[in-house]
Symmetry: C2
Subunit: 380 residues, 2 copies
């Protein structure tokens, strides 16, 4: 292999694939980034076996030369030092030469870096997504769906399926659901799909979705999603992002969502968020995160939290609308704040179904998402 | 106590004193911030016994009211929750009322926060600096002296005196020295002092100087330094910063500094820094940080680092000036980079006194600082 390449393009591609490099690779070769150079351009690949990312660098873009290819080939270089040293190279264009697979030389200005190469023959083959079902979604929409749900996945590895987000497609509508048994979030939107296509058990690890979100370009590019029984591939511009699907059956959560409320209210999202944040600060010191909410006097609600050692936070809010029974409830304020923070509308609707039954939170208008929190049983 | 105060002024003062609050206070009362309100204004105090900080809030500033004082008094409130909740209060002016020392109420908009107070009688008295020797120094100059030396203090608590920086005043000149036995840095500048005043054993912990630097205003205000046998007080605008001095005798380092060089060179600070940074990246992977420097061919020097597992970094630099014997030396690149980073001049002078003797680094012009590094003994 012998080529020269623009440092910024190489850096960007390394940045993409580095998300798939594990700090503790399961096999030594996966500590490396694979570089394949041919007449079309350069492909970088990295994988931790759960996720694999490929980034493609074309020979030219918009008439500008990115890569000058003298001869192609394949090479695997240790990801950590390779990515660090490329970032620090002194010139805008760098030379890469590999006399054989065991040795690569990078030249940039007066600096010459020799790198020990790993054998590219040992690098695992990426999963096949032949015969996949495919649909397309706007990248920004996809990021939004993920951001509105992924915080609710379980952190507990004893139920692996709940550490993922369920993706369901039906009638051209994509719905994401996450739950850790104490709370549930879902969000949905229209996608470009065959209306006959139905997916109902595609579960992707929350961690994976967070990495994926960071790779989605901010320009609203369309992303092609290709799903098989065990794998999913996200194809965006020049990046391919592969992920394993989680094994197991996701619980049916449809029955716990209701709209039979005992008390319901509409209020300013910001006023409630700010009040709960103040109460949360105190409840966090107690390590319980318990905040209380109660109807008081003439159509007001009171948000409060207290601690024998520190003191008490109390705040009253006048909702725009308040209907139903008197209310006295306690909940995990961290869960409530997580939900409130992804609601970008000015007003929210909260429905209460009983002192020990779910609290349902959604934007007042166009409720394309729903958050559910189970209350705490408290003695006072 | 009953008063109202501008939230930004309260926040700022809390920010100042919070630097002295330990996460693990030695006595419970030191988890608190002491608030003293009287007819002149409000004084906040915090201490971890090693350092103590006071910040004063006047009743008014530039004709604008900061504090409306109905009645004064003293109060101690838990620092962590108090500082967090004040930052989150909804209004620009907040009310603080304490019916007695055990209970304080903060009111801001619709929020009411009750805080459990600790007994101000239990709060330790700050150290006395009566009979102190004093001098004055421009705040920015002082920050610069600290920044140029403090990185060289020892991290090893087994020789406590070396975890501090030695401050020596003589003939109106202040000189700071830090060493961990493998390297040494010193820096000096003129200060406003009685030319007869001599201080030669004032050693301040490196950690303390880092905290102090963060409190020095960026407007070049003069700082009064008052030193006793065991304490030092830095007086700046409305902040008083007290620190205990380290016990013990600082070693005499004057004899190891020489200007009898076997090899010396003048070169671009940036060119050398960049080359060593690249070599450092490789040496760090080996956990040795060893980088080599050697004269080669016709007046060039070579910076290099190598590792059997990863590869080799080599870079040549042409110095502006190179004189003396041929050179082949190895050193800790982290130490060299620490020194190079605080040299803000374009050119540096490096003097070598032998393969196993100190390397001396200073700016080419006006050498008001000097850095010394001991080389490594290496087998190759």
């Amino acid at each position: 292999m012998k080529l020269s390449i623009r440092k910024d393009a190489l850096n960007e591609a390394i940045g993409h694939v580095s998300r798939a490099v594990s700090p503790r690779p399961v096999i030594p070769i996966l500590a490396g980034i694979k570089i394949d150079a041919d007449s079309r351009g350069i492909t970088l690949t990295a994988s931790d076996t759960d996720i694999s990312v490929q980034s493609f660098i074309p020979l030219e873009e918009d008439g500008e030369t990115i890569v000058r290819m003298e001869s192609g080939g394949s090479l695997v270089l240790g990801a950590k030092f390779f990515s660090e040293i490329v970032r620090k190279l002194p010139t805008d264009t760098v030379e890469l030469e590999a006399p054989d697979v065991h040795r690569a030389i990078i030249r940039s200005g007066n600096a010459e870096i020799e790198l020990v190469g790993l054998d590219p023959e040992e690098y695992p083959v990426l999963p096949s997504v032949a015969d996949a079902h495919t649909f397309s979604i706007n990248g920004l929409k996809m990021k939004q769906l993920v951001q509105r749900t992924v915080f609710a996945v379980s952190a507990n590895e004893s139920t692996p399926i709940l550490t993922g987000v369920l993706w369901q497609l039906s009638g051209g509508k994509l719905k994401l659901t996450a739950t850790d048994r104490h709370r549930l979030s879902n969000a949905e939107c229209e996608v470009a799909a065959d209306p006959e296509l139905k997916l109902d058990q595609m579960v992707i690890a929350g961690r994976t979705l967070n990495e994926l979100s960071k790779l989605v370009p901010d320009n609203g590019t369309m992303i092609e999603v290709a799903a098989t029984e065990s794998q999913v591939l996200f194809r965006m511009d020049r990046i391919l992002f592969y992920s394993r699907l989680l094994d197991g059956t996701y619980p049916d959560t449809s029955r716990i969502i209701t709209n039979q409320y005992k008390t319901e209210m509409i209020m300013s999202t910001k006023a409630l968020t700010d009040a709960i944040e103040r109460a949360y600060l105190l409840s966090r010191e107690e390590k319980t995160n318990i905040v209380r909410m109660a109807t008081v006097g003439s159509g007001e609600i009171e948000v409060s939290s207290s601690s024998l050692e520190i003191g008490k936070v109390t705040e009253r809010i006048v909702p725009d609308h308040l209907a139903g029974e008197e209310l006295k409830i306690a909940f995990n304020s961290r869960y409530m704040l997580d939900a409130l923070k992804v609601i970008d509308q000015e007003k929210i609707h909260i429905g209460f179904t009983g002192a020990m039954s779910p609290i349902l939170i959604r934007p007042e208008q166009e409720p394309d998402m729903l958050h559910l929190i189970l209350p705490y049983r408290t003695t006072t």
